[in-house]
């Protein structure tokens, strides 16, 4: 490929960065709070809730994300074909344009959020359970309420403990966005494969690799900075 072609392909891939970042950003935005909820459900003292949550986590962590994306994406069209649905649901499903970019994004996002919430939940749970009982007791002895204890005493310590594991997860997420091309969602990998065919060259893949690498590096530096910031105590 000529230098000019490389620049052109880089420009094209750059446009596909936006849908990639959209998956990345929205997944983080939704999976982190959902992960907290899931972590709480798993620690719930009412056993059936804890048990069901655990089944969900096991499935999410035990099957490939790619499979989950495909299942979510095709679930709705298949559901639409089934008989005996209540009227409003059938109308709702029929109203959906399954081929649209918007539907694709939503389906991919649902799969990513469900998957990553399970991983984040385990990280949060590990972090919360690592806080010694004495911290709760010290706060209670000082008359602090449950919510003040959690937000002022427990959570700050949990955050410090989970930064390294979360950092891993977030960097993995950047690279996992490439899985969305399995349902032809327009992200970087999809474009890179198209350009590879176009030019019969591996260079577009190489450029895509540089993109992922750059994003991973930015995140590595960012998390390194956060870790350092939180290092004021042991």
């Amino acid at each position: 490929m000529t230098g000019e072609e490389i620049l052109k392909v880089t420009g094209i891939l750059l446009q596909y960065l936006v849908p990639t970042l959209k998956i990345f950003g929205f997944t983080l935005l939704l999976a982190v709070p959902l992960g907290m909820v899931v972590a709480c459900l798993k620690m719930c003292r009412f056993k059936p809730v804890s048990w069901l949550t655990n089944v969900y986590i096991l499935i999410m962590r035990g099957t490939p994300l790619m499979l989950q994306i495909i299942v979510v994406y095709y679930a709705l069209p298949f559901l639409r074909m089934s008989e005996g649905l209540p009227g409003f649901l059938a109308d709702f499903l029929n109203g959906m344009d399954v081929a649209s970019e918007e539907f694709m994004f939503n389906a991919v996002l649902v799969a990513f959020v469900l998957n990553y919430a399970a991983y984040f939940a385990e990280i949060f749970r590990g972090g919360i359970e690592a806080i010694p009982k004495g911290q709760y007791e010290a706060a209670a002895a000082l008359g602090m309420t449950k919510s003040k204890t959690f937000f002022r005493i427990i959570l700050p310590q949990v955050i410090k403990r989970i930064v390294p594991a979360s950092s891993n997860e977030v960097i993995t997420l950047v690279k996992d966005t490439s899985l969305a091309n399995v349902v032809a969602y327009s992200e970087i990998m999809l474009a890179a494969k198209q350009q590879m065919m176009n030019y019969s060259s591996l260079v577009p893949l190489f450029i895509a690799g540089v993109f992922y690498f750059a994003m991973a590096m930015i995140l590595t530096v960012l998390f390194g900075f956060i870790e350092k910031k939180l290092n004021y105590y042991k």
Partner: protein, 254 residues
């Protein structure tokens, strides 16, 4: 004035009764030491009074407020939540392993409850914290984090933290047991100073010499019972009880 009054307290862990018919009194300005072999129920007793464990029978009164009382059927009932909170603020607790908040500086540890729970304004709380730190000989350490302090310093901070709520009574559960032997002295000294100021205190300890010097009353516990309850003289010198003698003998030969 009675600060703490415990009557016929029972506590079970499942089938195991770990506190049996415990009764005693602490008046204002008094120091009560609780001694006894490990597993005799000393910590559990403190934890019941500090509302970490629910009692299964008996009464606890603190500063004239009933933490638990008996209903018409003789069953033990806890006071409403609001009263329990109020009672808790009358009590300060110092733990064996300090339990300072590691993400907060020494000063923040001390002002946290006054500001967040008592809603003191920050200036008042800081001024009070600085006064307490001075008393503990830790004025220079206000900005340090607990991880940079020795065990003895951490325990002194935790005493200051407990005192910051102006409690009517301070409880200590083996305050020196987690410390290197050469650091126990500084904690015992601080507690002695508090005693000299007539701070009401209940101290679980294995420091027999210290307990004997500092206490107005001593309780010796074994297997969930109060075996001895009296002046240091009566427990340490005059006891006729075989178990008490054996226990004290073990500490004398140490």
């Amino acid at each position: 004035m009675s600060i703490l009054n415990v009557k016929n307290l029972h506590k079970d862990f499942g089938k195991l009764r770990v506190l049996k018919d415990i009764s005693f009194d602490v008046n204002q300005g008094e120091v009560l030491s609780i001694i006894g072999p490990s597993g005799s129920g000393k910590s559990t007793l403190l934890r019941c009074i500090n509302q970490f464990e629910r009692i299964d029978g008996g009464e606890i009164n603190i500063c004239g407020m009933a933490m638990t009382y008996r209903d018409e059927n003789g069953k033990t009932v806890y006071a409403p939540k609001k009263a329990l909170h109020e009672i808790r603020l009358k009590i300060g607790l110092v733990f064996q392993n300090f339990n300072l908040f590691p993400h907060m500086s020494v000063l923040q540890n001390i002002i946290e409850a006054p500001v967040q729970v008592l809603r003191q304004d920050k200036q008042t709380a800081v001024a009070n914290a600085e006064r307490l730190l001075k008393k503990m000989g830790l004025s220079e350490k206000a900005k340090e984090y607990p991880c940079n302090l020795s065990g003895g310093q951490q325990q002194r901070v935790s005493i200051a933290r407990a005192m910051a709520l102006n409690p009517e009574v301070l409880f200590f559960d083996e305050p020196t047991s987690a410390l290197d032997p050469e650091l126990t002295g500084e904690i015992l000294k601080v507690i002695k100073e508090l005693a000299a100021e007539k701070m009401t205190m209940v101290i679980v300890t294995h420091e027999m010499q210290f307990a004997r010097e500092i206490s107005d009353k001593v309780i010796f516990m074994d297997e969930g019972y109060i075996i001895e309850y009296g002046t240091p003289q009566s427990v340490f010198e005059d006891t006729a009880n075989e178990r008490t003698r054996q226990f004290l003998e073990r500490y004398r030969t140490r």
